[in-house]
């Protein structure tokens, strides 16, 4: 028997957003004359889904169908300031800014509708399908399109809104490190199962089970993309990746995708994910941000699983077959721990 299985766990939390010089983002929302909305941002979509999640936040806040909203980013002439897409701040910071802008635009839209329906704006509600009607009297209704036309050509109103979300600067106490580093925290726990070959030190992923708490999964499909891809990157960091294989000696740096190791489609394993939602007081609809923290629990969970499998602790990343083999030899062979 040269291959041993083991399970390891790790649990983490993650701060949402940075706090350095304050952490602002802005958004502008406006309607065209047929009641279709554009969100103007300077935020970046790196693949994480910035355009899509802000579009949904805007639609929900305005009370219009998501198809009626289009997010335009990133243009420094038309998009207002945003610190950037990093620090898991996109969904939370930009989402809040879009929400604020959409609220303002919704206010004007409801005023315009009220004028058309000759009622008090407070008595109106949106149906999310492109109509505004009197609460409890759905027949007294007007489409957002007609409201937009009226606002533009009759009432002279701009159905638009400006939004900013700013986390003011929190100075750090040089002596104690007292600070407000973030406004809310996401959480995760992950169980990794691995198989270790005690003659070659090779480690194969067997499966992962995880629970992530993200405040609110604004779009479960986008969350799944982040968590599945992030966990892949996590075990990639744990077992494969380094631009300096002999760190701190800088020799033999990889020059291409053959020499820079990342797990291929043949190295992946099943990953069963549960998402918990404990809304953040200051998050858009309670959302936090899954983008970064999704990878973090995987690294230690894999290291702990390797210990469980063969009884060696590798505290030095990445956990290459060489490091595992050296450690197994140093302890005179594999020492499988209590099976979990």
């Amino acid at each position: 028997m040269t291959r041993h299985r083991g399970r390891g766990i790790a649990s983490v939390n993650y701060p949402i957003g940075m706090n350095l010089g304050g952490d602002p983002s802005q958004a502008l929302v406006h309607s065209n004359p047929s009641g279709k909305f554009t969100v103007a941002l300077s935020s970046i979509d790196l693949g994480q889904g910035m355009k899509s999640v802000t579009r949904q936040i805007c639609a929900e806040t305005l009370g219009v169908p998501v198809e009626d909203v289009y997010v335009d980013t990133a243009d420094s002439d038309t998009g207002p300031h945003c610190m950037g897409s990093f620090a898991s701040r996109g969904t939370h910071r930009v989402g809040n800014a879009v929400m604020a802008a959409a609220k303002e635009a919704r206010g004007v839209m409801m005023e315009a509708a009220a004028e058309e329906l000759e009622v008090n704006a407070a008595d109106l509600e949106t149906d999310g399908r492109g109509n505004i009607h009197v609460k409890g009297a759905p027949h007294r209704s007007i489409s957002t399109k007609d409201v937009a036309i009226a606002a533009q050509f009759k009432q002279g109103k701009t159905i638009s809104g400006r939004g900013i979300f700013l986390v003011p600067l929190s100075n750090v106490d040089p002596e104690t490190g007292e600070m407000s580093p973030a406004t809310c925290y996401a959480h995760a726990c992950l169980v990794a199962e691995v198989e270790v070959d005690d003659e070659t030190g090779e480690v194969a992923m067997v499966r992962m089970d995880s629970a992530y708490e993200l405040g609110r999964a604004l779009n479960p499909r986008l969350v799944e993309q982040q968590l599945v891809g992030g966990a892949w990157m996590g075990f990639s960091h744990a077992l494969y990746e380094t631009p300096e294989p002999y760190y701190p000696d800088p020799i033999h740096g990889p020059r291409d995708f053959v020499e820079y190791l990342m797990p291929g489609p043949g190295d992946i394993c099943p990953h069963d994910i549960a998402v918990l939602e404990r809304p953040a007081a200051d998050g858009p609809f309670g959302a936090k941000g899954p983008g970064e923290m999704c990878a973090n629990p995987v690294l230690p969970a894999v290291a702990n699983a390797i210990f469980n499998a063969v009884g060696v602790r590798i505290d030095d990343l990445p956990i290459t077959p060489e490091k595992v083999l050296r450690a197994i030899k140093a302890q005179g062979g594999a020492r499988p721990q209590a099976r979990r």
Partner: protein, 530 residues
């Protein structure tokens, strides 16, 4: 395989929303599957020139002479750009928010501090002609001693990597060569612990490896402006960095981006835009500067490696009572963003656990390697690796189930965190419980019953007495840490940081009944003490 556990924390949520919570298709999916999503490099401009950079072949060397005369005459060459051509050839990214001092040139002039540092930019009609000209740039190096290990770099007599920081460490608050965290009395905590475990952890550098490499295209626009197509993941960061380096108003530029082929933190540094725009300004033609893959892997900023020492005190019953951390961020030759990673790292201590005595010293260290920058999990990923491996070892040490060990030590609503803010909206315990369920990992009843919403606060909500240390005199000119507005370098007034906001009032709920009241804070499972 994603399951939404709506049953948990349901009372804190309004689930009657129309669009939020739906798996709506991505706005950009159609563009992606048809290949019509437009990335920076998908702009074809008439008469576009190609910029390539001659990089240092040494990790640390004085530049005796840079001879570009032969390259200037090379066929197809439009311009050779040297450090002297860069209006403000010294910058640090976070100077935009007045954090840290300018320490990095766009093109090296007197000295190179890492292998691959840009020295000269070549702009030619074709990539081939640029490559040919690069081979005709002659750089006369005087090699200098190098340092690659973070702890070696801190020793007296170590080679000075970056003269802006002669001690090879970033300077915090004009005084310290590291970021401090002090909460409670860690030495007393360790002394009172049943077991003490000290371990060393080493994170590797990591390459972001986005499938799209860093790059930009800059072109003269109408009315004297410049349009810039860019892969940046922080548009205005790049706009303002370029405005500073090129010493022109920011509205000189029209930046267009937003659709980026992966970033993961590696496209925050504005690596290509300044030289690309400068070339377009000097030549008056569209210019394209795109990293090759080897360039991206070796000279595009990586995640910095971190070396972390953790010393923990744990009681037989599994409570961690003290955690002392010393960490070194390998920033490479320049600051970029590592200075902030250390702050974020300090704030992250001691992990998602309530530990009454926490002590952290986090160093941002300069070495002769490619400057590090942000990456997914910035400042936290490595610390999580260290802390969670350590937690596993501690659980093993006191022969406790690692899941139950984490639940026992988990932070809960109302607890005081080491950075002196009240823990709110916590959910670590629930994540552990659900993960255990998914993995069919048996937990004992009392741990299944545990909740983030109960048994926190009380005497876990107080800031413990913390010994103060003597504060040394300011080492150098003050750094502001105020708002996003840049005064010209040199005229900057030293400013005293405003006092930190007061910590929030302690949790109002009555203290939890101390179980046996034997220790400094009541353990939720005090009855289990042996």
């Amino acid at each position: 395989m994603l399951e939404l556990r709506k049953d948990i924390f349901a009372d804190e949520r309004d689930d009657n929303l129309k669009e939020i919570g739906k798996g709506t298709q991505r706005q950009d999916m159609l563009g992606h599957v048809t290949g019509t999503s437009t990335y920076f490099d998908d702009h074809k401009l008439q008469g576009m020139l190609h910029l390539k950079v001659v990089r240092s072949t040494h990790s640390h060397a004085r530049l005796r002479r840079i001879d570009t005369s032969e390259a200037e005459r090379s066929p197809g060459v439009r311009r050779i750009i040297r450090g002297a051509d860069v209006p403000r050839n010294l910058n640090t990214l976070l100077s935009l928010i007045n954090f840290g001092k300018d320490d990095e040139p766009s093109l090296a002039v007197d000295k190179v501090r890492y292998k691959g540092e840009p020295i000269v930019a070549v702009v030619a009609d074709s990539p081939r002609e640029a490559f040919e000209a690069m081979s005709k740039v002659h750089v006369d190096y005087e090699p200098l001693p190098t340092v690659f290990d973070v702890e070696e770099a801190l020793k007296p007599g170590a080679p000075v990597v970056n003269e802006t920081y002669p001690k090879n460490t970033f300077t915090y608050y004009d005084v310290y060569d590291h970021q401090k965290l002090r909460f409670g009395d860690v030495e007393r905590g360790l002394a009172g612990a049943d077991h003490v475990l000290e371990q060393r952890y080493q994170m590797s550098p990591i390459e972001h490896a986005p499938t799209e490499t860093n790059g930009s295209i800059a072109a003269p626009d109408t009315n004297g402006r410049y349009v810039v197509y860019t892969s940046t993941q922080a548009l205005f960061f790049s706009v303002d960095t370029c405005a500073k380096i090129l010493d022109v108003p920011s509205n000189t530029f029209h930046f267009i981006g937003g659709t980026v082929g992966g970033g993961f933190g590696g496209k925050v540094d504005t690596l290509t835009e300044p030289l690309c725009i400068l070339a377009a300004m000097l030549i008056g033609r569209p210019v394209r500067y795109v990293f090759g893959r080897e360039e991206e892997m070796q000279y595009g900023a990586p995640r910095g490696a971190e070396r972390i020492y953790i010393k923990d005190g744990v009681m037989r019953d599994g409570r961690v009572v003290a955690r002392k951390v010393r960490a070194y961020f390998d920033s490479g030759a320049y600051t970029r963003l590592s200075s902030y990673a250390a702050v974020k790292c300090a704030a992250h201590l001691p992990g998602p656990y309530t530990i009454p005595n926490v002590y952290g010293d986090i160093y941002c260290v300069f070495t002769n390697r490619t400057p590090a920058t942000a990456m997914r999990g910035f400042g936290v990923t490595a610390m999580d690796f260290a802390i969670e491996c350590q937690m596993d070892k501690l659980a093993h040490f006191v022969s406790m189930d690692p899941m139950e060990f984490r639940i026992l030590n988990a932070y809960r609503d109302g607890d005081m965190k080491a950075h002196r803010r009240e823990a709110k909206n916590t959910a670590l315990i629930e994540c552990v419980q659900v993960a255990a369920e998914k993995a069919k990992w048996p937990l004992r009843e009392e741990f299944k019953r545990a909740s983030s919403r109960t048994d926190g606060g009380g005497d876990r909500a107080v800031v413990p007495p913390t010994p103060r240390e003597a504060r040394p005199q300011p080492a150098m000119a003050s750094q502001q840490r105020t708002s996003y507005d840049r005064t010209p370098a040199g005229t900057r007034e030293p400013a005293v940081p405003p006092p930190p906001p007061p910590p929030p009032p302690p949790a109002s709920r009555p203290p939890a009944a101390p179980s046996h009241g034997t220790t400094r804070f009541s353990s939720v499972f005090g009855t289990r003490r042996r």
